[in-house]
Symmetry: C2
Subunit: 157 residues, 2 copies
DNA sequence: ACTATACCATCCAGAATAGATCATTGTCAG
DNA sequence: CTGACAATGATCTATTCTGGATGGTATAGT
């Protein structure tokens, strides 16, 4: 959250939703409701400042406080040896002896589409490179390629 | 849960814990407390039968009912186009412009170890092949290799 | 008999989840 | 201009999950 808000300077939960969908959501899944509750918590903790728009919907806009910026920086610059957590229903079914053929076919479709989406994204930002997001995206691409290969092998086997 | 219980015929939550750690936990993360609450739910729903050991600890043992076996079969044989969900703190930090070098080093250590663990596992079951688990394991291996390559590139760049 | 240690189970407060629902704004046909 | 319908945007609820603490029970060695 802090990172996202910092990127755009200031944001409403709804705007955050767009940002999440546009990138980060791919390797950190979260729930839209969280975009409303989490900033509240952060505000209480003093990491963000909440202001309400005056007109119409009176939406809440959040921006970082100094404490927030500091906490973000501290978090980012602390390396982690934590491994990724995965939740893959398809693999689970495979583990329990699902018929590989139809499963692989379904997964192929889904993963190929995801891959296209990533490549699309990569092309869009292609020349103007915000390094972090781009590097993360590359990880996504490589792994989707891997998945495609994997399920392909199972499909034709 | 149903799948695990079926594999071993009958199990206590604690035994399930071992099974989860030994494989499935790698692509379906869950909490040990769930191993106690979930079977209760399943029992209420009629998918498993609960019996208590008579001596000592009077542990609960669960085994599938016919309904449970049926539900499991139905679930397994239904292909899914659901994509895996990922939660990768390291990638998140990278996205937010973490210094790649130390992050990559930390991740390399962790992923290399995971890879070794997988390969170890693969060697153990090497000749007696329970197909499902083995295939799933292979996915794990390929992806860990991919991660190692990925972070390696970032580390030496 | 004693105590250290593994084994096993449960509990708790807070947070996340899925999805429904509610409210406001925009838009377009008539 | 007006109502209807879609798109936006926000909130609520019940249930489940999470992480960790805690608390029992068995076992083996001294």
């Amino acid at each position: 959250m802090l990172g996202l808000i910092e990127r755009v300077g200031e944001a409403t939960p709804y705007e955050l939703k767009g940002l999440v969908a546009a990138g980060i959501g791919n390797f950190w899944s979260l729930q839209h409701a969280q975009l409303y509750t989490e900033p509240e918590r952060l505000a209480r903790a003093g990491y963000v400042e909440e202001t309400r728009e005056r007109g119409g919907r009176r939406r809440k806009r959040y921006k970082l406080t100094d404490a927030g910026r500091e906490a973000l920086l501290a978090w980012v610059s602390e390396p982690t040896n934590e491994l990724p957590e995965l939740r893959d229903v398809a693999l689970l079914k495979l583990f329990f002896d699902a018929d590989a053929q139809p499963l692989a076919d379904a997964q192929l479709v889904a993963h190929r589409e995801k891959l296209r989406e990533y490549e699309q994204l990569a092309r869009q930002t292609g020349d103007d490179p915000p390094l972090g997001p781009l590097t993360a995206l590359q990880a996504g691409i490589m792994h989707e390629q891997e998945w495609v290969r994997y399920w392909q092998r199972l499909s034709t086997a």
